[in-house]
Structures are given as C-alpha cells and as structure tokens.
Point group: C2
Chain length 240, copies 2
C-alpha cells in the first residue's frame, strides 16, 4: 500500500517579506519522513483570507493530510481558523471545550481572559482540538487539515500531539555518499543506476568549498534492502 | 501603480525529505522586497515532471514573475528546463549560444564537455539566457519565468544577473518594535491601529525566551511617511 501523502501550508507574511527564515517546514519534513507520510508539497502564502482559503481547499482535495502553521494567536492578523472554517463552509465560534482550556490556563497564570485571548477559543464546528502543552491555546484538526501555531516551540509540541493519531506508512529512508568529482563526471553512471532502481529516488546535490568540489548523492526510498543494494553499487562505481 | 507580483517555485526533494533547509527563499524574498516586487507565494514541489509543470503553469498565469530554483544541472534528476518548455508547449534542445558558453568555460578549466554537461545547454526555444558568473552554465528567462540554479552561491549570482533587467516598484519597507507584554494585551489596541492604517500590514510575532515574553510588532508598507506615523502611534500606545 502506498504511503499517505501530505502538504504543508505556511501562513507567512513574515517569511515572504524576507524578515524571517521558516523553521517549521524543516521540522515537519523530518517528522513526516520518520512517520511514513510522504510530504509532497509546501506552500507559503500571505496572511490574507483569500490566499489561505484557496490554498487549504486545493491542498485538502489533493493530499491525504494538510498541516498548517501560523495565524492562530489572539491578534488581528490571526485569521487562519476563520479561513479554514470558510474553506469547509462550516460555522465557527468560541467553543466551550476550548474556552475551558484557556480559562484554566489563564486562571493558573493570573492573566485576564480578555476578548482578544478568547479569540483563540474560536474553533470550527466539528473540529477536534490539538493539545498545546506549551501555552494552552489549542490547535485543531478539521477533516484532513491539521491547524497549528507558527511559534516553533508550540508548532513542534502540536506536531507531537497530532502525529501519533495518524496512520503512517513505511518511513522514508535515506543514505548519502559524498563524491569528490564534478557532477558532469558523475552524471552518466548515476543515470544508469537510477534506471536500475526505479523504486528509489536518487538525487545529486553539488557542493564546492575552499577549492574542492563534488556532489552529495542521496538515495531515498522505503525499502532498506534496496537502498543498501543501490548504495553498494554506487560505492563501486565511484571508489574513493 | 501597484507593484509587480512574484511567486517562487523551489524544485525541492531535498527539502521535502527533511534533509536540507532552503536558503534561496529567504535570499530572494529580501532582494525582491528591496526591488519593489511583491513576493506573494512560494511553492516547494518534488522533482517530478508533473509537479513542476503544473506549478509553473499556474504560477505564471497568476503572478507578474515566477522565479524557480533547482534542477538545471547535468544529472538525471535535473529536469526543470524540460518541464518549463513543456509548460509553455515549446521545443527544447541544445542551443548554440549556451553551448558556446560551456565550451569556453570547460576549455579554460581543462574539463571535457561530455554529454552530461552538454545537457546544461538545453534551453527552450525563445528563452533569454541568465548569466552565471560562478560556474558558467546559464539559467534562462522564458516569458515571465526566471529559471535559476539551486546551489545558493549560483542562485544568488543569477538573481543579481536578472533583477536589474526587471521593472520594480516601491520597495517594501518595514519597521519593528519589541513589546514586552503578552500578545493578548497587545491585540486590542493593535487591531484599532491596523484599522487606522489599512494601507499597511501590521504583523505580531510572539516570542518567549528565558522567562521573558512579548511580541515583535512589524509594520510593512511602501510609504515611509505612513510607516513613521503608524510606528509613532504604536510607540505611544505601548510606552517602554
């Protein structure tokens, strides 16, 4: 059975403007590889309702799972939950279970649960809450869309809450070999190897630093024995 | 006149698999902000013909410019040029001008221009070459799509070659203020400020480290005087 597939949607004005580098993508990619859910696409869109709603709709129709990051805090630019509800044509309002979580948290920390903070209890109809052990305000899963915070520490905690609830497949394995030769000399034999192992993906990533150059050859796939076989052939093709 | 818009397409198995963190996106975002071309979307897709061709077609129809990174080297997994040609239904073959650039470069470095390296002279019909001062093999512009290498050093050199040929707009300016208060306390006044300045985008990015927490408020827009006015109001709302 083929692995489930996934896309990630980053709500990301702060990335598109060049201000920050995304960290959640790299983290999620690694976790999904281990879980055996194949990450096929990432989209970063701006913090506008149309961009978010359109992207969620398309990605949810195309992949087994969609993971979003960002835009579920208490400020005016946090519009993700409303956009997800709109994408599924579902109602959204403050929900009692989410409100109870916030009430308990803010009571304990001696902070007022004001109108802005209460926005974080707005959850679309029919969604399941995702636990947030860092700062309480929950994410949620609606259909095949998993909605999580953008702050890396909270995003990672939410990924840890949600991934064990999903059915994974065979983990994505990878092995790599550094070859200190120009890609142009590696390319011919490598193409033949790729043809011999159509069930694996073989990538070539050139590098050059301080006068030496070459390529990292990365072999990926779900069957460890096949990876070993391909890597042994590769090593024989390019002895050190 | 509104600024031209842009999308970036990263051909990125090595990112989707969790192996590497993308660096080109952050670089391009910063350069486009300075040039006054508004980066609206980034997509990262796997190294398959269908994924690349579909994404290029959609993005080229939607935005003023599309910038791609990756997949134009000499190895079997370098299929970007062929996919771009397919997306525009144009022929692609080794082109004399690109071949001449490679011949000169490899002659000078004493390297054989073999069949694999010659693949890097495959350029779609009607495309304009993008200069590569690092390793010679050119990128190209076809219609509104700018096709560049994935190696960061080469990508950056190609961006420097191509951006001066494009018509930009007003640079994206930004100012930020760190406020050491919870986002829930900032949210109310901040929403009112955002309503007063609908021509600016005001983002709130929470942080917490070593016991202190707060948010970076980032105000972005194209009119420096408006940014100054909004930032002055913000500072008065939250005096240190």
């Amino acid at each position: 059975m083929p692995n489930p597939t996934a896309a990630m949607l980053v709500i990301g004005d702060e990335i598109l403007s060049g201000r920050t580098r995304d960290a959640n993508m790299h983290y999620l990619a690694g976790e999904l590889a281990k879980t055996g859910i194949d990450l096929k696409e990432v989209r970063i869109v701006s913090d506008t309702a149309e961009a978010i709603t359109d992207a969620v709709g398309t990605l949810a129709d195309t992949y087994t799972h969609v993971f979003t990051s960002g835009g579920i805090g208490p400020t005016h630019d946090d519009i993700t939950a409303d956009c997800i509800a709109a994408a599924f044509s579902l109602a959204i309002d403050v929900r009692d279970d989410a409100r109870a979580i916030l009430e308990e948290h803010y009571q304990r920390t001696g902070t007022a649960l004001n109108e802005a903070r209460l926005r974080m209890a707005r959850i679309p109809e029919g969604a399941t809450l995702i636990d947030n052990p860092v700062s309480a305000a929950p994410g949620f899963t609606l259909g095949n869309v998993h909605v999580m915070a953008g702050v890396p520490q909270i995003f990672q905690a939410m990924v840890a809450s949600v991934l064990p609830t999903l059915t994974g497949g065979a983990p994505l394995l990878s092995q790599s070999l550094r070859i200190e030769r120009g890609e142009g000399d590696i390319a011919g034999p490598l193409a033949k190897l790729a043809q011999e192992f159509p069930d694996l993906t073989i990538g070539s990533y050139p590098y050059s630093h301080s006068g030496t150059f070459g390529a990292h050859i990365v072999i990926r796939g779900h069957d460890g024995a096949r990876l070993d076989a391909a890597m042994q052939k590769l090593s024989r093709l390019f002895p050190e």
